[in-house]
């Protein structure tokens, strides 16, 4: 049975696109949800001037798109996209997976407003956290004391099914 998966990627990130392609090749309905636009980027530039972690402006739009899309799983790759997926989960009840697109490091964990809270919300709120590679796995353990599996597309497919069972 094929799965319908939303892969949240502000600006169309490569990890989401790669995973989407692999899932589609396996016969699933994987959709890259990119809610960013010229308007959200303009809003983000204003937020950045007030010290906020950006991009943020697309979050409510991405949440609405995920909630409206009848997806079975929402998979996010940045803390902000995870916030959108968690917002959508309030309406849909569908599971959220978070896979950081880059290894977290100390300088980037708390450098702007809301950054730490977004990371904490993503790590604690997601139904599952995974790593795309060993470097990210190691970094998640070092900075969040979080032991996560490194998964490829097939591993993620199995994870989705276990979250839905």
């Amino acid at each position: 049975v094929s799965l319908r998966v939303a892969l949240l990627a502000d600006g169309g990130g490569a990890p989401a696109a790669d995973l989407a392609a692999a899932l589609r090749a396996a016969g699933h309905d994987a959709v890259v949800v990119d809610a960013s636009s010229r308007a959200t980027r303009a809003a983000d530039s204003l937020l950045a001037r007030r010290g906020f972690a950006v991009p943020l402006a697309h979050v409510p739009l991405a949440a609405r798109a995920v909630a409206a899309g009848a997806y079975e799983v929402a998979h996010a790759f940045t803390p902000a996209d995870a916030a959108a997926a968690l917002l959508a989960r309030r309406r849909t009840g569908r599971p959220v997976v978070f896979t950081p697109s880059e290894p977290p490091d100390r300088p980037g964990l708390a450098d702007t407003r809301l950054r730490v809270r977004l990371w904490e919300a993503a790590i604690e709120g997601a139904d599952a956290v995974t790593a795309a590679d060993e470097a990210t796995r190691t970094a998640l353990w070092r900075w969040f004391a979080l032991d996560v599996p490194v998964l490829d597309a097939a591993g993620h497919e199995r994870l989705y099914r276990s979250l839905l069972s």
Binding site: G51, D111, D147
Partner: protein, 321 residues
């Protein structure tokens, strides 16, 4: 680490497991080559403690121990007392769990202690440069301390264990200001406090909502008890009543706003506060505009602090605002 540690780092931690992890990572990078140890006293759930503390490389190297207390039963004073009494070294260094020590912090603090002849050694605490971006928020909390200051906060200080024993440790009746109380008692007992300005700890910069910062600052109402126990502190207070200048001008501004209905000239009392409030973001037009937009929230925050201290003053029967 056996009984020969040259220093014990004591950390009291509550509701900051993530920051504690980052602190432990920074401690792992210390350059001090002699044996030393870390004692963390916390109220975390067993699974959190296992992940964050027990499986940390410092613990696996035998350098980190932890003492768990019942959730909700701790206070900074009690946890630090538990920590230093459990420590194995004659030198006890205190760090807050929202700090990140520089890699040479402990090496320099220990060097300062060795040259001090049994004095208390205070290091420098500065806002974390990795988190400067958060300063753009209207309500932030951080620490900036150049030693030796009058309060000798425990976010970065080392006490000889013998002195802690002689003083009986921290006063566990104090909800806040227990570190100031300890330093004042140490001074009164003849202890010297020396500076180690190159032993630097970086303090987190955390942003709060207006309600959050007002709530967080309510704990300062217990400072009235500190001033009652140490009336000599009044010599340092503006007009011997206000905790700092900000509180003095805030109280005047609130009085001016309250009196404006009866006499509009009373608003002039708010002028000194307004001048300070408008300059807090620098003198550029944009900075003044941002400061003006933030001014109402700043007044509410300051008034909340003064009101909290007023409540504490009534409770402890001594006036500190």
């Amino acid at each position: 680490v056996n009984g020969h540690a040259c220093a014990s780092v004591v950390v009291a931690s509550h509701a900051r497991a993530l920051r504690l992890r980052w602190l432990l990572n920074a401690l792992e990078e210390q350059t001090l080559t002699e044996p030393w140890e870390v004692v963390v006293v916390h109220d975390y759930a067993p699974d959190v403690a296992a992940r964050v503390i027990e499986r940390h490389p410092l613990a696996e190297a035998g350098r980190l121990r932890h003492v768990a207390i019942e959730p909700g039963s701790g206070s900074p004073a009690r946890q630090r007392n538990v920590g230093w009494r459990d420590a194995r070294s004659e030198l006890v260094a205190f760090l807050d769990d929202d700090c990140r020590p520089d890699a040479r912090w402990l090496e320099r603090l220990v060097a300062g202690a060795r040259g001090s002849g049994g004095a208390v050694v205070q290091g420098a605490t500065r806002p974390d440069p990795l988190e400067y971006g958060v300063l753009a928020a209207p309500h932030v909390r951080t620490m900036s301390i150049e030693p030796v200051n009058r309060y000798v906060q425990t976010c970065n200080v080392a006490y000889p264990r013998a002195l802690l024993e002689r003083l009986g440790g921290f006063d566990e009746r104090a909800v806040t200001g227990e570190d100031v109380d300890l330093a004042l008692r140490a001074r009164a007992g003849g202890a010297r406090i020396v500076a180690a300005p190159d032993a630097v700890a970086y303090h987190a910069i955390e942003s709060f909502s207006l309600a959050g910062i007002v709530r967080a600052n309510l704990k300062w109402r217990y400072l009235a008890l500190l001033v009652r126990n140490h009336p000599e502190l009044r010599r340092e207070l503006p007009l011997r009543v206000f905790w700092d200048e900000d509180h003095m001008w805030t109280a005047l501004a609130v009085a001016g706003l309250a009196g404006a209905r009866a006499n509009r000239f009373a608003l002039a009392l708010a002028a000194p506060w307004l001048r300070r409030a408008l300059s807090r973001r620098g003198g550029s037009p944009r900075g003044v505009l941002v400061a003006a937009l933030e001014a109402p929230g700043q007044l509410v925050r300051g008034a909340g602090e003064v009101a909290g201290l007023a409540v504490g003053s009534a409770r402890h029967r001594t006036l500190v605002l």
